[in-house]
């Protein structure tokens, strides 16, 4: 069957077969520097997003056409009234950045949820049952892998119309491939292990075996893939919104903010730089978290 060769940063070798004892993990978690730093950054961002109405100094949609393109406080011409300046419509940038975190986090998590569910179901099914079922799912996977995600997402959004919900749905229905590949490989490895064979020989029903024997052991791979896919989804939404076919204005999506700032590239570069930094920090933290989880559960699979 066509071998799905799409294995960028996370490869099929990223499989953890050890169920780690609880006590040991939390201690090691706190010792892993990358994990701690990433966790702290993410914690701050999530907190910021959750308490946005309390933390943001202004309404992110409130325009102030008399105060357009005010530089951030640390540049000349700026003031602490608007710590990160204002955009082309006079909206406070700090507030928009804070609210923008909500958009990115929501997209990342919800998309990961949907695509993770689809991908995990397909992957585990293919890996466990093998044979024709596996061949069929691999075929579906090959077809999906042959479609360019960005173009498909753009095309679909153009017909339906762009919005937060549409972006989440479309990306969720498209980004399941990596989950499927990794889950399939992980399940194949676990299925061959003795305790699964033992359960089968005792006559345990298939759903029961999958739930109690297979799933716990492939869970950590799933989590690792999920973190990287959250980052992937966040970046994709930013790109779609940048192109005008994602989240629609006046919603404060960081990608959209970069697009809006494009016309001010020359003289007001902060309009582009600031949301980009926010995106990079968030994606970096998520990736580092994923690296940390993988190191803790299957360090020999470090890529």
């Amino acid at each position: 069957m066509a071998n799905p060769a799409a294995l960028p940063a996370v490869s099929t070798a990223d499989v953890d077969l050890a169920t780690v004892a609880p006590g040991g993990v939390s201690r090691r978690m706190l010792q892993h520097k990358g994990f701690v730093i990433a966790g702290a950054i993410l914690g701050i961002i999530v907190l910021m997003a959750l308490t946005a109405p309390l933390v943001a100094p202004y309404d992110p949609y409130a325009q102030d056409l008399g105060n357009r393109l005010v530089p951030p406080a640390f540049m000349e011409g700026g003031s602490w009234a608007h710590p990160l300046g204002t955009d082309g419509l006079g909206r406070d940038y700090l507030s928009r950045v804070i609210y923008g975190a909500r958009v990115s986090l929501m997209i990342g998590l919800l998309t990961a949820l949907i695509s993770g569910l689809i991908g995990a179901v397909l992957g585990v099914t293919a890996g466990y049952f093998g044979g024709r079922v596996d061949a069929l799912i691999c075929y579906v996977l090959a077809v999906r892998l042959s479609m360019p995600v960005v173009l498909v997402a753009l095309a679909v959004v153009s017909v339906i119309g762009g919005s937060l919900v549409v972006v989440i749905t479309v990306l969720g229905l498209l980004l399941w491939d990596r989950y499927a590949v990794v889950m399939r490989s992980a399940t194949q490895q676990v299925r061959a292990l003795d305790f699964v064979v033992a359960a089968q020989s005792v006559g345990a029903s298939t759903p029961r075996i999958i739930l109690t024997e297979v799933l716990p052991n492939v869970m950590s791979s799933l989590i690792v893939v999920a973190t990287f896919e959250v980052a992937h989804a966040i970046l994709l939404e930013a790109a779609l919104s940048f192109l005008g076919l994602g989240v629609q204005p006046p919603l404060p999506s960081w990608g959209l903010m970069i697009a809006e700032g494009r016309q001010h590239l020359l003289f007001e570069p902060w309009v582009i730089v600031i949301p980009g930094i926010a995106l990079s920090v968030l994606v970096l933290a998520v990736n580092m978290l994923g690296d940390g989880i993988r190191d803790l559960h299957a360090p020999e699979n470090r890529n």
Binding site: S146, P148, L151, I160, F242, L279
Partner: protein, 305 residues
Amino acid sequence: MLKYTLHKLLVAALVAITVSFVAFMLLRVSGDLATALGGESARGEDIARLRAQLGLDRPILSQYWDWATRALVGDFGRSFYYPEPVWTLLRERLPVTLTLACWGLVISLAIGIPLGVLAALRPNTLIDRVAMTLAVLGQALPTFWLGLLLIILFGLVLRWLPMSGTDTWQHFILPSFVLGYYSTPAVMRLTRSGMLEVLATDYIRTAYSKGLPHRTVLFKHALRNAVIPVVALASVQFGLMLSGSVVIETVFAMQGIGQLAWESISRQDFPVVQAVLLLVSMFYVWLTFASDLINAWLDPRIRAG
């Protein structure tokens, strides 16, 4: 080898046909094209007329058959926006995109593989950590943002490179770099892990025991094995670059397939959109096929099946 090739060919053909069908259905399934084209103010009868005009009221399969058979000979119909046939549009713009993608791939391999090898030779030392840090950073920056930043830096501030367009080869430097930059970390990490794995094998020890110099062991014996997964990765990355060039071409205002796709999508120029989708998808399918073949050539064990 022949049996393997035929098998892969069959699979690729099957996938290609399915993909073309999906590409065709995608737009029709996501919504009523006639309504979308008609716009908000269109009345029912206008929409019905539009539908008949576009042939949207015919059975789906016959629509697909017409489109597919014509596409095979290169007839993608006419654009709603441009006077030229779609095929001409594609042909004019494909070179730009292909050039970008090729250079992007070359850059990602030229930076990624040597860095990966170096990092594997000196694991856990400074150079390894630097390489891994670059990798981690590289995957976190949004490409379009990086492109804009580089335009500011090299185009406005330093004035070394042009900011947009495709007139000279210098115009391709920044966009190719940005395109390749996103893939470099993946290539580097895969090369590094592959090399680490290979360097620990028995046959490398055998190679040293034969008295072969470091250089030979590294390049002839180790790299050859370690690079096999990178080939598969490279084909995937090339495909990603083809689709990722949508963003890059928009940022750098280059007249390639990506920008054509984006413009057409924005203008709801559906014949063009479908054609581009099909074209890029076909590239993916045959890229995978080619990479399977190269893989088999590199690793004799795969040929045996």
